[in-house]
Subunit: 366 residues, 2 copies
């Protein structure tokens, strides 16, 4: 018996730009072509973006091969859709010299990124997020993937974009509920990382709801800075990146329990308040943060209580299935104060006794 | 409009061990459990390995969740199979704390590696290659993937194993044609990298064909050293790694043209001789290397001519489809002498005029 070792070489640090503006979509294709000379482009989008005219604005009449996910939304976030996109790229005889452009919300970005990650063992991806949730969250950080028949984002890769372009004008066509629930990720960012940003949101919430592009650009900037600083520190979610899951542990369970009848942001809103109940039970709350978070979520028209038709035991079961569960016990991200996550012994997520979890969830029911 | 930059952090160099022995399979499960304490294991294998008793030898009666690819072989190397494996892992409620073990030949290793790369955005994979081709080639280097409806290895990732275990005893149950054609990769390694290894193969070819385990361990060692040194230098095939594709450009086209009626090794054998014809036409041959390569391939019972039922024009079309084609023109790896690939201006693969390609292919027909 003998043994040899094979070296896997180091990979150098690099970085990618996020460009934020209003009405920039029509110039992006030329810009991407300049960024990637001699590359073929392939656009992944969805039927809603096509209907809203955003695909036409991006291509400007140029003939760029594309795939429009139908129906739009999480229900299409499957291996079957990813495979259909990859086969479409093959049918277009695309080679390794291809850049995938993801034009759309979280589902489009996650699938486009995944397709780019596995096409010919990896080609660059450029994200053009068009929803509040994608502009705040999913377009930054390199998480890609699809859902399994049992859980969200079960299959995927870490695959970093080569560039991200945020055009706040694309938010104008977003339906109202999608628009508002996507802003929950902005509230989350402020709650975990920046009290000043939280105050800004409170002050400007009416302008935000009117979709004022100047305010939206500022919000996009804040979100990207916060998200980027967290993922830079811990790109593959070994530790600190978990703080981005604030409100998500219970949020994901609610999302699954209501069979995706509520949007992601609505469920995270419920999850943030539920985790507040835990913080309270643990004696960690000596300020008015829960009231302030609840007030802003209500201004966004978000639910803050668990719908009464969901069953307690089903929620507890789902919590044990969570992908971030380590050794099968759910861990929670807790606030120390507004803008600051509780960290103990270098850990940013904490096991909470079943009793306190159960209490907090019971208190969160409508 | 404003711009920010997000850092993608560096990744440190690391290495993985390749252990070579005979009859080591029965002890591997305990060894892998020691290497990965507290992790869940999941085995990907195929029906042939199960029938040959190798899965039972590995598990030793222990209850380890597994998936046996059916039917065995390239026909099953699809997204559908990868998805079925991933869903099976979900059904077993496996988390990120899982290690995938690939027990089998190239198809098993490529799919197992791909499943590991995308399950929960990536879990470790351990390869236990059981064929001559997998032990020589596919288990080292981190290429994973599946075929599309149009081309081989169209979708996949670079995902390095955490460990590789080669048990030459598993070769005893391999059917004769598979065994012999897998050895073509060993001939290729010797031809591109080591004249001493080539002489060793010539001298010991009868022992090799008798499946002498001592010789097989030596061959495995040689193959892994050569392959490892090449992939260490160029892990993602930007340049030098292409030398491993010696004989493969035409080989892949033949494989596709005969609709996979010939095995990979048989097609590479044909491709190596065809590329020899090119070297000759280019005036690059002033030794007896083509005769020596042909002689050893014939000892292995390999074809060295293109089957007469394949059409010239179909082959030329397929060459233009090759994944490694840059700007749609096929590039070829050429020998300078036995054990040494021709390198010019730092490039290891070269464009050859259509005329010479056509001539060489015509000469290669039966």
């Amino acid at each position: 018996m003998n043994e040899q070792f094979v070296k896997i070489p180091a990979e150098q640090e690099r970085s990618y730009p996020i460009t934020i503006g209003t009405g920039i979509l029509s110039g992006l294709l030329a810009r991407i072509e300049r960024l990637f000379p001699k590359k073929s482009l392939f656009i992944v989008t969805d039927e809603k973006l096509v209907q809203a005219g955003h695909l036409a604005t991006l291509t400007g009449g140029k003939n760029v091969p594309s795939y429009a996910i139908t129906p739009a939304g999480e229900r299409s976030k499957t291996m079957a859709t990813a495979t259909a996109i990859l086969e479409a790229m093959e049918q277009h005889r695309l080679s390794r010299d291809t850049v995938v452009i993801g034009l759309g919300g979280g589902t489009v970005g996650d699938i486009a990124g995944f397709a780019a990650a596995v096409f010919k063992r990896g080609v660059p991806v450029v994200h053009i997020p068009t929803t509040t949730v994608a502009q705040a969250d999913s377009s930054v950080g390199g998480k890609t993937g699809v859902d399994s028949s049992l859980s969200k984002n079960a299959f995927g890769c870490f695959w970093y974009p080569s560039a991200v372009f945020i055009d706040t004008a694309t938010l104008k066509t977003l339906d109202d509920l999608q628009y508002r629930s996507g802003l929950v990720e902005s509230v989350k960012h402020a709650a975990i990382a920046d009290p000043e940003y939280f105050t800004f949101l409170e002050k400007n919430i009416d302008m935000v709801l009117r979709r004022d592009t100047k305010i939206l650009e500022q919000i996009a900037g804040w979100n990207c800075r916060i998200k980027a600083s967290v993922v830079e520190e811990d790109p593959t979610e070994k530790n600190k990146r978990r703080i981005l899951n604030y409100g998500h542990t219970i949020g994901h369970a609610v999302e699954s329990a209501c069979d995706y009848q509520l949007l992601h942001g609505q469920c995270v809103a419920i999850g943030m308040i539920a985790v507040g109940m835990m913080e309270q039970a643990l004696g960690m709350v000596n300020d008015d943060r829960i009231e302030r978070i609840e007030a802003i979520l209500k201004k966004l028209g978000m639910p803050t209580e668990i719908p009464s038709d969901i069953k307690m035991e089903q929620l507890m079961d789902l919590l044990l299935l969570d992908k971030k569960a380590v050794g099968k016990r759910p861990w929670f991200v807790l606030l120390e104060r507004l803008g600051r996550v509780y960290c103990k012994d270098g850990r940013w997520a904490h096991e909470v006794s079943q009793e306190i979890v159960r209490q907090a969830i019971e208190k969160s029911f409508r």
